[in-house]
């Protein structure tokens, strides 16, 4: 570095390039030919876009976004789908019988740096095969205003019970109360593909596929 300037110049973006200086020619000095060139470009865009608007053939704002034409997304009516790995609003996945997969282990609320998850764990009633084996959430509350959408809860969950794959963003509401998402709301939310389950299979205790130790094997 031969010269150093103060304050330091920010690095130029990678797509920046130096525009070559154009020497004035007779046509640029005369001004009129360049005006007509510019008008021609403007008219080309105008007639093409007007035709497409009148015929209702606007380019698809997402699929043909690089195409020439009006590729504006009219937001509330048209939405660009969020990418696959976008962390949106939470949902609680369901078992086959519609109950939450959550076993109220409190891993997510422990992992949550914003402490926005509250879980009240409950035991299954006497006689249920799951009693003593796992618990269920009596209350499962997420404060979406506190949530920082870091995704740690999803990482922490051992049962694939909480997911952030709804593809929806947090919505503006009128009151803080409306941002408190409770168990029924979280269970009702569906994933991108519209399902309430996950692709990962769940092995209920007692199933032949269950890999772990079940109560039947314990003989003490």
């Amino acid at each position: 570095m031969a010269t150093s300037t103060f304050p330091k110049k920010p690095p130029s973006p990678t797509n920046a390039y130096v525009v070559a200086h154009v020497d004035p020619t007779a046509s640029t000095q005369a001004y009129l030919p360049e005006i007509f060139k510019g008008l021609g470009v403007a008219m080309k865009h105008f007639f093409k876009n007007t035709k497409e608007m009148v015929r209702g053939e606007r380019p698809d704002p997402v699929l043909e976004s690089i195409a020439q034409g009006v590729t504006t997304i009219s937001y509330p009516e048209q939405k660009r789908p969020y990418p696959e790995r976008f962390r949106g609003l939470h949902r609680l996945t369901q078992r086959d019988d519609g109950s939450p997969r959550c076993v109220a282990c409190l891993c997510c609320s422990t992992a949550c740096p914003a402490q926005c998850i509250f879980i009240e764990a409950g035991e299954y009633p006497e006689g249920d095969p799951r009693r003593g084996y796992e618990r269920h959430p009596v209350k499962f509350v997420i404060d979406e205003l506190r949530c920082i959408f870091c995704g740690y809860c999803v990482e922490a969950c051992p049962c694939d019970a909480i997911r952030m794959d709804t593809g929806l963003h947090a919505v503006p509401y009128d009151s803080r109360e409306q941002f408190i998402y409770r168990k029924d709301l979280l269970l009702a939310a569906a994933g991108r593909d519209g399902s309430h389950e996950t692709a990962n299979p769940r092995h209920e205790p007692g199933d032949a596929s269950h890999p772990g130790v079940t109560r039947q094997h314990i003989t003490h």
Binding site: M43, F46, E57, Q78, P81, R192
Partner: protein, 461 residues
């Protein structure tokens, strides 16, 4: 003096005023919409389209036209603010002074050829008859009726009246800037006044060439000359561009909008105005676009004339070689003339909007340099050349006169061809399907593709 039969002129005049002012005001309102939508189309945007009129379940949007109505309503209900130290009288007077000359200007502009009411239709024993009239000459005296000239005030001073009024618009701007008690306004007013002085000269000199050639200052006679010979844009091409540039400068539009340059002077001379007073300035600007388009059409683009359409019908002829001669009733030719005039005015308005959205604003010194060192010498040169040519062709030989006639007819043929090609190209272009190129990159686009394209819900809000 013969007693004036009031029924003969009051009703036609009222109708003419209604048509002319109605067109002016409605088209000016349309232009505010056109400016937004056209610029959007030019810049690959959608433009305003959300103003809605809800009648029960029915929603009326009309491609964003209601934004104009919403703007008008807003103007009426906004606070009418007057700066505490402003000159109250002049502050209120300025918008009126800006608007009135524009309205008065259209009085002399002819929107069609002279109409002879008694020759429009006749009831005979055989039923209704729609007679045709001769191509030249005055029919009024010959058939004992009177003639209606399709200009509100067909003044003999014609274009001189326009010169007198065109410069008046700036008085409103100057007074507005002075009375506002605001430095930005004052700067805008100064710029407006000096710009007006610079470009008024070019307007006058460029038109002087035109009326030397036409041999009249009456606007309707100018249009008749263009119908019989060639359009002014062919006879005076340099004057056309000079007049166009200075007309844009007179209406204070980009690239000459220094008096109201947003990036430099907030909004120039009407910074302090609000509500309907601002609306009047805003509206006057758009009306000036319409009136300058009318002038341009009348003086350079053949007014109500179409190539080969004459008062007696369609005559396609080059020199002495007549291809088609079709006599058409007077009533149809009158209607065609009026429709053609207003159609041409609309086309020029659209073109002015193209200019406005394509060019950047001049710097102030560039504006003055262009006015005094380019346009003024050019218009003087144009005047000189025109004078020389007129002198040289004062008493042309028979061959030369015939040659000029053929050249004039060829120019008419060229205009007819260009219009036909434009229309055909438009039809072909409109009916051809759009070319598409899909770029499905990333999961966002894949999700949209899986659903068969981006979904569009009903328009909200």
């Amino acid at each position: 003096m013969t007693p004036i039969d009031s029924t003969q002129w009051i009703l036609p005049t009222v109708i003419k005023i209604a048509i002319m002012i109605g067109f002016l005001i409605n088209v000016a309102a349309l232009l505010t919409w056109l400016d937004r939508r056209q610029s959007a189309m030019m810049q690959d945007r959608i433009g305003p389209n959300r103003a809605v009129l809800k009648i029960g379940k029915f929603e009326l949007r009309v491609a964003g036209l209601l934004h104009t109505a919403a703007d008008g309503l807003k103007f009426f209900f906004k606070e009418d603010f007057v700066p505490p130290n402003a000159d109250k009288l002049l502050f209120g007077l300025a918008p009126i002074l800006a608007m009135m000359p524009v309205l008065a200007l259209v009085a002399v502009i002819p929107m069609g050829d002279t109409v002879f009411p008694h020759l429009l239709w006749r009831h005979t024993d055989h039923g209704w008859v729609f007679p045709a009239i001769s191509r030249l000459g005055v029919e009024a005296g010959r058939f004992g009726g009177h003639a209606i000239e399709l200009a509100v005030a067909p003044l003999s001073s014609g274009i001189l009246f326009i010169f007198a009024l065109a410069g008046q618009g700036i008085v409103g701007a100057a007074i507005a800037g002075w009375s506002s008690d605001n430095k930005f306004s004052l700067m805008g007013a100064l710029r407006a006044a000096s710009q007006m002085v610079s470009y008024e000269v070019t307007i006058g000199l460029s038109l002087a060439g035109a009326f030397m050639l036409y041999g009249t200052v009456r606007l309707d006679d100018m249009v008749r000359w263009q119908g019989e010979n060639c359009w002014g844009i062919f006879a005076q091409p340099a004057a056309f561009f000079l007049f166009f540039a200075s007309a844009v400068a007179e209406s204070k539009r980009i690239p000459f909008d220094l008096p109201e340059a947003e990036s430099e002077l907030v909004s120039g001379y009407f910074t302090e105005y609000s509500g309907m007073k601002f609306g009047m300035f805003y509206f006057a600007e758009y009306m000036e676009v319409v009136t300058s388009s009318m002038l341009l059409v009348t003086i350079f683009l053949g007014g109500w004339q179409l190539p080969f359409f004459h008062r007696d019908g369609i005559t396609i002829a080059v020199g002495d070689w007549v291809v088609v001669h079709q006599v058409i009733p007077h009533i149809w030719m009158s209607i065609v003339g009026v429709v053609v005039f207003f159609g041409k005015v609309l086309a020029v308005c659209v073109f002015q909007a193209f200019v406005r959205w394509s060019l950047p604003r001049f710097r102030y010194d560039q504006l003055m340099k262009l006015g005094w060192r380019v346009l003024l010498p050019l218009s003087l040169g144009n005047l000189f050349v025109t004078g020389c040519v007129i002198l040289a062709l004062d008493k042309p030989s028979v061959d030369l006169a015939a040659g000029l006639k053929v050249a004039a007819d060829l120019s008419q043929l060229a205009v007819a061809l260009v219009i036909t090609i434009f229309v055909l190209r438009g039809i072909v272009g409109f009916s051809s399907p759009a070319r598409r190129s899909r770029w499905i990159v990333g999961t966002s686009a894949e999700f949209a593709d899986a659903r068969g394209g981006t979904e569009t819900g009903p328009m909200q809000a």
